[in-house]
């Protein structure tokens, strides 16, 4: 029995390692090419390690401005999303009302709509109301598109904070707003972190929304500006493209690790897929 178990474990290990290797190949390309002076499209060990690729792209034009644009866009939209979602989740979690259920079902329904489909009408609408090519317009749309899921998650996390703690504050004369800010939100810190990080990561990686709604090159976030490595620059410098990809991807990977560690693997999915 024990031997059968060991051999089964070895078989499982071998199978997993094979899949891991297949998944790792494209990742290895980006890491190795970023330090390879003669990078091309194949995964290979560089002859010599260089930081030249990073040096070449660490300029305001190529890296700093797009990353700053990403930060403003995603930071602004995340702040708006989290603030609106926290406010909205409070009455949904705290007070009973006949409207809660239809509201939450609508939210859940909106969560799974393919947002890609509405980008053409959003573009047409933004042209009409003069929001096209504005950072604030893009922030507002980003926040709205992320809100249904953020409200849903936030409500589930808020349900985990016992009401008794708040009732004590109410008898001491605290208002709902005060108890939300002083008691509920601090107690659901990890939940708040999950909603924040998840919203930020989703927007940081989103290509289609800024691609459609922004036109001026110096407003473009990194998700769109990365395309400049192709096209009119002639020969593609793959090493530089890889170096840029590494820099652009690092923040979201770090954020994910930060949150996933604290909350375990399937972190943000709890509310949406519990079946």
């Amino acid at each position: 029995m024990a031997r059968a178990r060991t051999s089964r474990r070895l078989a499982a290990d071998a199978a997993l390692l094979l899949v891991a290797a297949a998944f790792a190949l494209p990742l290895a390309w980006v890491v190795l090419s970023s330090v390879d002076p003669h990078a091309d499209l194949r995964v290979r060990i560089p002859d010599g390690v260089t930081l030249g690729n990073f040096d070449a792209i660490l300029t305001p034009d190529i890296t700093y401005t797009p990353l700053l644009n990403s930060l403003i866009l995603c930071g602004g939209a995340t702040a708006l999303t989290v603030a609106c979602a926290a406010l909205a989740a409070y009455p949904l979690s705290r007070f009973r009302s006949r409207l809660n259920r239809p509201f939450l079902l609508t939210i859940l329904f909106a969560t799974s709509l393919p947002i890609t489909a509405i980008m053409v009408p959003v573009y047409a609408l933004f042209v009409r109301v003069n929001l096209i090519d504005t950072v604030q317009g893009t922030i507002l749309f980003f926040a709205a598109s992320q809100l249904p899921f953020a409200i849903w998650l936030m409500k589930n996390f808020m349900d985990g904070v016992p009401k008794e703690l708040e009732e004590a504050a109410w008898t001491d004369g605290a208002s709902s707003a005060q108890s939300l800010v002083r008691i509920v939100l601090p107690l659901m810190g990890p939940g708040l972190a999950v909603v924040t990080v998840f919203s930020f990561v989703m927007m940081w990686g989103n290509f289609f929304v800024p691609f459609m709604l922004l036109l001026t090159p110096d407003q473009m976030p990194a998700s769109v500006s990365i395309n400049d490595f192709f096209g009119n620059r002639g020969m593609v410098a793959y090493g530089q493209l890889a170096a840029f990809s590494v820099i652009y991807s690092t923040p979201v990977i770090l954020l994910y690790v930060l949150v996933a560690r604290r909350l375990g693997g399937g972190f943000a999915l709890g509310g949406a897929v519990k079946g």
């Binding site: 891991a20 494209p26 709509l113 009408p121 507002l140 990686g205 998700s223």
Partner: protein
């Protein structure tokens, strides 16, 4: 008194509701309107109402039918078969594997998922290109090489979507498998049921709701993939990897027919909405 209390309590909902109405419900309503007009990108003062002309045109347009077919292939291959099956297999294997292997594999698969869409697109573009890694490996194994992005573009982008999206299914199924009581599997094992039979007769029926919700969410996610395919193939060569979102974009912007492009978007939205309703029914949550 009671009504006033109700209003005060609902007040915090306002900012979220206003944003969602203006920027989500608004565009959807606008979508439903311009899909019935001949709105174009340039050189036109007023769009006029054309009824179902855009939709009739779509169903007679070979390029549209091609996009529907490719969307179907892309979704079935990458989401129903690829992400779902591989995710389940990984989750099941992880239950038996040793801890370091589990951590390593999980970490790599999840990294592919967390990467920004465009970066994922470039990584797989490099992998599938003629000078890329896949052909280098095939050479090394003395197998015939292919110009993957040219000969089998829809297959290449489907693989890319599997690479990128499997982590989600893996996480969902890992959570689901953890909830199966150990006694049940052990009892079946004692009764002599082999691995496959246990999977088929015990595990799968017990996690069927997770399977349902996961399939729904994977499908919805896959229906709206744009950046990944855009980066890898731009929908080409020709239109051999042009799924509906890319077709919609091309009609609206390259051919500047916003009305027609939006009609396609509306169809995509309706398909998505149908899936969402099924998903809600599957979920049957006590909200």
């Amino acid at each position: 008194m009671n009504a006033r209390r109700g209003i005060t309590r609902a007040l915090p909902l306002t900012p979220a509701v206003v944003l969602i109405l203006l920027f989500l419900a608004g565009p959807i309503a606008y979508c439903a309107y311009i899909a019935f007009t001949d709105l174009q990108l340039t050189g036109q003062a007023h769009a006029s109402f054309v009824g179902f002309a855009n939709f009739r045109r779509a169903f007679r347009d070979d390029a549209f039918l091609n996009a529907v077919w490719l969307t179907l292939v892309f979704t079935v291959l990458s989401s129903l078969v690829g992400q779902n099956t591989l995710g389940l297999a990984l989750a099941a294997l992880m239950k038996r594997a040793s801890k370091p292997v589990r951590t390593l594999t999980g970490g790599i698969v999840v990294t592919a998922w967390v990467l920004p869409e465009v970066v994922a697109g470039f990584l797989l573009y490099a992998f599938f290109r003629r000078e890329g890694t896949l052909n280098a490996i095939l050479d090394w194994l003395h197998l015939p090489r292919q110009n993957w992005l040219f000969t089998l573009p829809i297959l290449a982008v489907s693989f890319a979507n599997v690479w990128r999206g499997t982590a989600f299914s893996m996480l969902v199924y890992s959570a689901a498998l953890d909830e199966i009581p150990a006694e049940i599997t052990e009892a079946a094992e004692v009764d002599g049921a082999g691995g496959w039979r246990r999977m088929w007769h015990i595990t799968l029926p017990m996690i069927r709701r997770s399977i349902g919700t996961n399939l729904m969410l994977n499908t919805l996610q896959t229906l709206s993939v744009f950046g990944l395919i855009w980066v890898m193939t731009r929908g080409g060569p020709g239109n051999r990897s042009q799924t509906l979102p890319l077709f919609m974009y091309e009609q609206a912007f390259q051919n500047s027919m916003i009305g027609y492009g939006t009609a396609v978007a509306l169809l995509l939205l309706i398909v998505g909405a149908l899936f969402s309703v099924v998903y809600l029914r599957l979920l049957r949550t006590e909200v």
